[in-house]
Amino acid sequence: MGIRFILMVNKQGQTRLAQYYEYLTLEERRALEGEIVRKCLARTEQQCSFVEHRNYKIVYRRYASLFFLVGVDNDENELAILEFIHLLVETMDRHFGNVCELDIMFHLEKAHFMLEEMVMNGCIVETSKANILAPIQLMEKSS
């Protein structure tokens, strides 16, 4: 329901972060990622950010060298998901300071923590950057 998965993929098609909210086996995931990434990467700037794939929609946006793809149900509000992607990027930016692909790669667990604070079980939980980052900052201070 709502969000089914969130992927961050670079321009060569390598997955940098993958969070699934529904069960798929490993082979299915790889196949899915391959298909979707091919579709999205092939699109130009002018084309719209929503792709229909099988029985759900993919909302995507490209930030520098990284593509953010979110797979949602058919009845979800696509523009809201676009906003959500932007919110995610801004949150990570605030935490890492000028976030780039390498930051995500080398601090994968922190990226996951942030995402977990924002989305739970496919639903958006928290949208305030302060609230999202508070526990993470606490954790970093204590360790």
């Binding site: 329901m1 997955t15 940098r16 972060l17 993958a18 969070q19 909210y21 069960y23 490993l26 995931r29 790889r30 002018q46 084309q47 719209c48 950010s49 929503f50 792709v51 229909e52 509000n77 696509e78 523009l79 809201a80 676009l82 906003e83 959500f84 932007h86 919110l87 790669m105 080398f106 994968l108 667990e109 996951h112 923590f113 977990e116 739970m120 079980n121 639903c123 958006i124 939980v125 928290e126 949208t127 305030s128 950057k129 302060a130 609230n131 526990p135 606490l138 954790m139 204590s142 360790s143």
Partner: protein
């Protein structure tokens, strides 16, 4: 030195993997790391467990199997420190899923953590539970989660809310427990809790209808007030996105209102004001604003009708449509599809814009726009819209062509105002994208063509031209070959020119060329070649001058490796050579194919065997018949049966019989006539026309006065099985009666069973020249079957030669005719001919037998025909 002592090992591993140039190298690196991790697990290494787990997560993301790490997760979760717990739970959520049994082991840890004093740990546990709990775990831990819904810390409350969503999804029975706490959540101030609370309530409403009722009654005003507060709230930096406070909360509230308002007028009323306010006040220059407007429009469309709001919504959509941003246009098209069911007029106004969108460069937009156009089409705008679509078909790309073609075909079929337009459009589509057109569409086109007799000439000429232009489209070739075969003479003689046509001259050999090309081309498939063969046979009869050439072509196919083609060519060849005299009768025009039954059959509703509807009459002759195959669905090829004796060929064609429409009002044209001209009883299939004013082909029919021709006997039903009906020219005939004769002989024993109750014989038919007597007997085994022995007596002084008796029965009866004892009836009753009939009455006891008969014979070479109806059957037969 322990290789895993340094904390940067994760980074190093990542660097190493990135440095790999090939997939094989990467696999090698990953394998080494996995081995090292496994070794560390075996040693039960405490310190670097979490690093190993982080590495495992990375490897898992790349797609390699990592099940050996699952127990590590559990150990980490059970440890005391917060970082370890954190990574443990993260690993749990990534590496495991609800179907693994290992998950059960975590339940106890989770329970302890849910009751932990440290609220962050509680939060962790809730998170994990919310993401992957299974049904059993949900049941176990539900009471804990319920308690936490009222916890003092808002962070915990919001997580508990989302966790509850998962629980009620997994175990819907527990939903009742959560209704009250959920309602309390709606009064929160904290946005996080509010948003999750709203989500929880939305899900509760989906799961249980009593929850829906409860929320509708109690909470609608509260929600409206909340939305108003949020919409009017001053600038709040925390939640601000692009100038709007917390658009996500807006959208969630709107969604919940939608669920509450759907189907309920009171709730919808309460919402009207706030919806209007949101719709008008929200700024739409930013994406966030547009998102809110989109949700608002969706809600307005779903709740109960309110004219003003609807107009507002459609205006917003209109604005969206003309926005330059592709995303917005896509969203608008999506919404318009739902709006059509609500208010079609308003959507029509935007037709032009939508049509533009069909040609957009973006694939998603094109698809949506095409579906929308399809829904918009009605009788008034079908012509211009179809023209646009067909124009676009030429320039569209391959993947889109399939969709587009299918849609155009269905539009044309449903809405075509007149036949000539239909045929034109279909020809264009076939020339452009014939390869994408499905077979049924071609068949439908052929049915329509045959139903439009005045357009036959026009059609066949247009097809000829189209074939010259684009002969690589398979379906076009098929339709063209069929039409040229049927109406070839019209093509050559330029019959039936319409004003809009330019004259073309086509010689007979040109027409034969078309068929020859179709056969010889490598890329033609089996069906096309087979159709071309038949067309050649038809042409050989219509253009006698080309017979030789046609024969040569046919002979070439004799050695074909495909059985179907070989069989056809051999048979047709033998027709050409040995059976010249009946050839023309065989391949005369096909009768009109009935559209209604065709489309009914297509929809699967009509069984393909017996014709449908209203009491069709089966006519069963006592001859063997060889039908020519039609290019349509059933291609019957009987093996040629030259033997004049009325021995039946094996196949029982009773099932393939078409009823024939004899109603005078039938508008079907091009049917009927010609009496049998062959002397052989078997081979011809007659359409015998009854109108007395009929000029019939070769031999005159003399109708005996006792005939009752005006009575409509049966209704014309489908003709997908071919009958080589010798239908004459295409002029519509009034009161045409067509009788199809197909082989219906059941090769049964000729001895009637004589036991059973006796019935009186009747004089079935008597005229000045002929008397027929029926003797009845019933087999005791099956009371539905009656065996009738018919005796024919010649009352005149002439000898009757080639005596043929045919009978037809209504649908609830089945008739079998055995061969007659002889074909010649000697004069003046000096001898008689007998024939056995077997009738099966499926309505035995309720209805008695009736039968229509026709007798044909020759007196000194002249054909005579008599018809009659037998009503005098004894009851209880």
């Amino acid at each position: 030195m322990n290789p895993f002592s340094s904390g940067t090992r994760l980074r190093d591993m990542i660097r190493a993997i990135r440095a790999c140039k090939t997939a094989a190298e990467e696999r090698a690196v990953v394998r080494k790391e996995c081995a090292a991790i496994r070794a560390a697990i075996n040693e039960n290494d405490q310190e670097y467990r979490h690093r190993n787990l982080a590495k495992l997560m990375f490897i898992h993301m790349l797609g390699y199997p990592t099940h050996f790490g699952q127990m590590e997760c559990l150990k980490l979760i059970a440890s005391a420190g917060f970082p370890e717990k954190r990574i443990g739970y993260l690993g749990l959520m990534l590496l495991l899923d609800e179907r693994q049994e290992v998950l059960m082991l975590v339940t106890n840890s989770l329970k302890q953590d849910l009751n932990h004093t440290n609220q962050y740990i509680v939060g962790l546990a809730l998170c994990a539970l919310g993401n992957i709990c299974s049904a059993e775990m949900a049941r176990d831990l539900a009471p804990e989660v319920e308690k936490l819904l009222q916890f003092r810390d808002p962070n915990i409350r919001k997580k508990a809310a989302l966790c509850s969503i998962r629980i009620i999804r997994k175990v819907p029975d527990l939903a009742e427990n959560f209704i009250n706490p959920a309602a309390a959540l709606l009064k929160e101030k904290h946005h996080g809790v509010l948003i999750t609370g709203v989500q929880l309530c939305t899900d509760l409403c989906k799961v249980s209808s009593e929850a829906l009722e409860y929320f509708r009654k109690k909470c609608t005003e509260v929600l409206v007030k909340t939305l108003k507060d949020v919409a009017n709230s001053p600038y709040a930096p925390e939640y601000d996105v692009g100038g709007i406070t917390d658009p996500f909360l807006h959208i969630r509230l709107l969604k919940f209102l939608r669920v509450l308002g759907q189907g309920d007028a009171d709730a919808s009323d309460t919402m009207n004001d706030i919806l209007a306010q949101v719709a008008t006040k929200t700024e739409s220059n930013k994406n966030a604003g547009n998102a809110i407007l989109y949700e608002c429009v969706e809600t307005i469309m779903s709740i109960e009708d309110n004219g003003g709001l609807r107009v507002l919504a459609i205006n917003i959509l209109g604005r969206f449509l003309s926005n330059r941003d592709n995303n917005i246009r896509y969203v608008a098209l999506n919404m318009l599809m739902k709006a059509i069911s609500v208010d079609a007029q308003a959507v029509q106004r935007h037709r032009a814009t939508i049509l533009e969108c069909v040609k957009d460069s973006d694939a998603s937009i094109r698809k949506r726009a095409l579906e929308l156009v399809y829904l918009l089409i009605n009788e008034s705008n079908v012509k211009p819209l179809t023209k646009e679509l067909i124009d676009y078909l030429e320039v569209s790309d391959q993947e889109f062509k399939g969709d587009l073609t299918a849609k155009i075909c269905s539009i044309v079929e449903k809405f075509s105002p007149e036949k000539i337009w239909y045929i034109d459009q279909m020809l264009k589509v076939l020339s452009e994208a014939g390869n994408f057109v499905k077979d049924e569409v071609c068949h439908a086109l052929i049915v329509v063509i045959s139903n439009a007799p005045d357009l036959h000439g026009y059609t066949v000429r247009a097809l000829y031209r189209a074939f010259q232009a684009s002969s690589e489209q398979e379906s076009l070739v098929r339709v063209a070959v069929w039409c040229i075969g049927e109406y070839g003479d019209m093509l050559v003689k330029n019959v039936g020119m319409l004003d809009v046509e330019d004259p073309i001259t086509v010689t007979e050999s040109d027409a034969v060329d078309v068929a020859e090309i179709a056969i010889k081309r490598q890329s033609s498939d089996l069906t096309t070649k087979a159709m071309a063969l038949i067309a050649l046979l038809k042409l050989s009869s219509r253009f006698p001058s080309c017979s030789e050439r046609i024969r040569d072509i046919l002979v070439q196919q004799k050695g074909s490796l495909v059985l179907e083609l070989q069989q056809r060519s051999i048979e047709f060849n033998s027709i050409l050579e040995k059976h010249r005299n009946i050839r023309s009768a065989l391949v005369e025009r096909m009768p009109v194919l009935d559209e209604a039954t065709f489309s009914g059959r297509r929809a699967g509703s009509v069984p393909t065997t017996v014709s449908s509807s209203t009491g069709a009459t089966l006519k069963v002759p006592n001859g063997v018949v060889k039908p020519t195959a039609a290019p349509l669905v059933d291609l019957l090829d009987l093996t040629s049966d030259d033997v004049p004796a009325p021995s039946s060929s094996g196949a029982d064609f009773l099932n393939d019989i078409l009823g024939v429409d004899l109603s005078p009002a039938s508008a079907h044209s091009g049917t009927s006539q010609a009496a049998k001209n062959g002397t052989d009883v078997l081979l011809d299939i007659l359409s015998i026309g009854t109108p007395p004013a009929q000029s019939i082909s070769s031999t005159p029919d003399i109708f005996s006065p006792s005939q009752n021709q005006k009575t409509p006997v049966a209704s014309l039903d489908a003709l997908l099985t071919p009958s080589p009906v010798s239908a004459r020219a295409a002029s519509p005939q009034a009161a045409s009666s067509i009788i199809d004769l197909l082989d219906g002989l059941g090769p049964g024993p000729t001895v009637p069973e004589n036991n059973g109750p006796a019935y009186p014989s009747i004089v079935a038919f008597e005229s000045s020249s002929l008397r027929i007597m029926f003797d009845f007997s019933k087999s005791p085994a099956n009371p539905q079957i009656t065996v009738i022995k018919a005796t024919f007596t010649n009352l005149s002084s002439n000898v009757y030669a080639d005596f043929v008796f045919q009978a037809a029965v209504p649908k609830f009866l089945q008739l079998h005719l055995d061969p007659a004892s002889s074909n010649t009836l000697p004069a003046s009753g000096s001898g008689n001919v007998t024939q056995t009939l077997r009738v099966t009455n499926s309505q035995h006891g309720k209805k008695s037998l009736v039968m229509r008969i026709r007798i044909a014979y020759k007196i000194d070479g002249k054909d005579v025909l008599e018809e009659g109806q037998i009503n005098g059957f004894p009851r209880d037969l």
